[in-house]
Symmetry: C2
Subunit: 84 residues, 2 copies
């Protein structure tokens, strides 16, 4: 739960998730969408991956990232229990 909230607590990472909602993207394409260095984006992707919010598929030279929404169930449940 901690990892999840940590991963979601960053505007850049949330935007990455929103982009991946539309379509799978390579690390490079994701990085190009931001005014942030590739290593920094790589770090953000790593955090998202550790939180299981995205998955990575190596395709030759490229690494394609996909959104994983199943883990979001946990957040949803937690919030819903608060709302009684």
């Amino acid at each position: 739960m901690n990892y999840l909230f940590k991963a979601l607590n960053d505007e850049t990472r949330r935007q990455i998730l929103e982009m991946l909602k539309e379509k799978d993207m390579t690390a490079g394409d994701i990085a190009d969408a931001f005014n942030i260095s590739k290593p920094s984006i790589s770090h953000h992707l790593d955090i998202l991956k550790r939180a299981d919010l995205v998955s990575a598929q190596k395709e030759g030279q490229f690494i394609t990232y996909s959104l994983n929404t199943t883990i979001l169930e946990d957040v949803l449940k937690w919030i819903l229990t608060l709302k009684k």
Copy 2:
């Protein structure tokens, strides 16, 4: 949205919300439930208040905090849009 996720990104603060779900509590009672100094808890309560996740009612010498779940709708909506 940023404030909200920031506020939720802390185990202590999430526990406070869970406690307030059960019943309203004074700052002191909340602080007593943790192994953390009162000023630190006061700071956490301030962050929750700024995020509009709790409200505070002054009752004489005491300040009673209550959970405010309406703002959680925003988080729910954001997550649900990700889930398509």
